[in-house]
Amino acid sequence: MNEDTEEKLYVLPVFPLRRSVLFPMIAGPFAAGRKVSIEALEAAASSEDKTLITATQKDASIDSPDADDLHRFATRGVVRRLARSEETLEVIIEGLERVRIQSVDWEDDRLIAHAIPAPVVMEPGPESEALKREVVSLIREFQVLLPQLGQLDVDEFLHRLRDPMHLVYLLGALLELDFEKSQRLLDASEQNQAMKLLLEYMRSEYEILKLRREIAGEAESEAGREQRNYMLRQQLKAIQKELGETQGGETATQELRERLEQAEVPDAVREEAERELGRLEGIPPASPEHGVIRNRLELILELPWIRRTEDNLDLARARQVLDDDHYDLAEIKERILEQLAVLRLNPEAKAPILCFVGPPGVGKTSLGQSIARALGREFERFSLGGLRDEAELRGHRRTYVGAMPGRIIQAMRRAGSANPLLMLDEIDKLGQDFRGDPASALLEILDPAQNYEFRDNYLDLPFDLSRVLFITTANTLETVPGPLLDRMEVLHLSGYSDEEKLEIARRYILERQRIQAGLTKDQFRVPEETILRVIRHYTREAGVRELERRIGRLARKIALRIAEERKIPDTIAPELLRELLGRERFRPEEARKEMPPGVATGLAWTPTGGEVLYVEAILLPEEGKLTLTGQLGDVMKESAQAAQNWVLSHAARLKISHPRAGLHIHVPAGAIPKDGPSAGVTMATAIASVYSDRPVRGGTAMTGEITLSGLVLPVGGVKEKILAARRTGLRRVILPRGNEKDLDDLPESVREEMEVMLADRIDDVLRMAIPELLPEGESAPPAESSEQEPRAGQAASAPSVPRQHGDSKNADSPGTQLSRR
């Protein structure tokens, strides 16, 4: 458009454009495939000045356009480059000037146009200047969003573009306007009109661009990070490969797959594992998800779904193993042998769920171990003590970070067989709070009717626990929830007597501690008297833990002497104990020497054994008042009231002088809370003694619950109580007749040593405990016990007195308890 010559008429081939517009002064690449286009380009390329006319079609779908199908305003251009490939010509055409097509005709295959130059009318002036500035300011805004524009120095650029239309067309091309808009821009025949149009397009493009940026910005930051991580991971992989550390994800999943193929698992589990493996392969090893899936897969592969150990059903051998490991405990051993016999007859029998209850140190846990050994089963144990979270048992859901399977599944994984012996210790010390109730989770686990489909939250597959032999242990049943207790077969292990402890020490502890200390048999000879002295003067416990520690200490002292090359005694005589173990820790509790009227000796049960306790009563000057002290629980208070009222209602018979006097009962030690009904007879005796002003016979302890009609009901913990009485030096014990059967639990030696008297009624107790209070043979309500009081010594076959008072119901409740601090 340099020279403004007179009206020129161009006769040039037409290159019809389908969806684009070539602007003057702008170069653009085009591809030609149509016959008409190729003809036009070839004609142009063969001409001297290589020019042609590009005209945009009104309808892009037309293949051979006629005059009416082309826009009238078009561009004369020059072919700058041309290259040919198979079917198409690729060209770069540079626009030269705006033309108006006057006519278009077909000549053979060629479209020839007659066109005249149609320069845009320039309108220099304030309006065009304003428009130009507006365009420039918009460009600057674009520059922020479009990096490819950012490098452009706008001022320099504008300076070089003398022709304002050059700017318009350039921006039109840069904005990549659609071809209809572009054509409208080309149609504009006045500068300001074109500028306005451009501004409009720029604004709308700007809005679109901004929106796109916002959308892309959100998506990009996410995708960008993913992309980056992926790149880094690929590089890491390459580095690892280079370093020969090729234990990448693939080999790991490969290995898992091989293991799965070999694993013995049920079909449903295999399916699930396959599914997980599939997912695992699709996840890069560095992703946290990868670890989660892999851990679960490993758990699935390691769990004993089918694998079982063969039970050793040799009864003689089992008996031998049990006897080797534990002294006595006949009842429990019998129960285990029964189970063996059942398994022999019916291999598919459901395993029982046993609960061993007894004081600490009596060998509950080690008994479990030797049962496992006798049966030839894997042994696993864990403690429930202080467990508060149900998820500890049943696992966490895998959605949580650091989720793990529950203890049960973990124990099964360790055991490696589907029928291990699983020992759940301290079931009585399960916690319970807002975080959950593990005891309720145990209900499912310990129910043979449900646990064949135990579902751990983490594993999330049903696992069969019905072959597992569960054994739980507890010190007391008080805190075990009823429904849980109901599912278990309770076996009691009571505390040991001194003789039993001696036997245990002789058979097991001495040997164990000797070997532990590395001593020979000759170096560590401990006679029985010494052991007994340790038992009596250095320990006080129901079990044998402390005893074992003491003997261990003894062995170490000897070892020390040998190491120091000092002389060691041939045998450890009792006299040497003071030197070796220090001064005696416990003096045998001595029964009170002074028994003024109003003091009676009772027996209490604690989770750690029996205790002797005294009930003291005095009369008060005020009338009718009853004061109870000594941290007594409600049951014990009621029992005291019942005792007082019974005594007062028999005041005449008991020759009571001041029946109206008030009464204070105290049970030391005052700081230890006590509760339970089993001190009933002791209270009654103390009250009768204080009202009648006759002292209770010395050396006599008693236990039993009373009723207002004067009956004596059986209580629990009899063995521990009698052992406690014996330890204290009391030789006479009054028991409810309902407890007669419990005497079988006592070792022979104890039975011989202790004088046990059985009572049906309070009258019997009083007659035994307070001499001369009631005449022999006289019984208060004549109807029932017509027999005269037997001095039933060593459980001699007592006369058949009706025993209707529910002995079985109460026998398991421990009666009076002390909570130890």
């Binding site: 290589k50 290259a83 540079e94 490819q148």
Partner: protein, 123 residues
């Protein structure tokens, strides 16, 4: 063939930047310092000498011209094209005042050689 196609397309694709300023063909130029003054060479093969015009103004020298395709055979078709056929204008700045210099140009072997001899020697 596939590769060839891609290569061609690549070569032909103009970068966006190229489209910003249509770089009309600029003939390459060499400039030499001679004992007498300056020697300017421009490669302009195929440019008809009668279209070339040299014009000086102050320190700048402008060479205009137009290359048209004069070598054509009847009935040929173009297979590929890289040579630019169009009008051109090349302006160079020299550190001397050209208005006070003698400027001679001759066209030889497709090259335009311009000798510039200043009247007064410039430092």
């Amino acid at each position: 063939m596939e590769h060839e196609l891609i290569r061609l397309t690549r070569r032909l694709m103009l970068s966006r930047r190229d489209r910003l300023l249509p770089s009309c063909w600029l003939p390459p130029a060499d400039l030499y310092r001679t004992p007498d003054g300056w020697l300017l060479k421009l490669e302009m093969a195929g440019v008809a000498p009668d279209t070339i015009a040299v014009q000086v103004c102050g320190r700048s020298i402008t060479i205009r011209g137009e290359r048209r395709d004069g070598l054509r055979i009847q009935g040929h078709t173009c297979y590929s094209m890289e040579i630019a056929y169009c009008a051109f204008k090349r302006t160079l700045e020299l550190p001397i005042d050209l208005d006070r210099a003698t400027v001679n140009s001759e066209y030889d072997l497709g090259m335009l050689v311009v000798t510039i001899t200043p009247e007064v020697r410039q430092p």
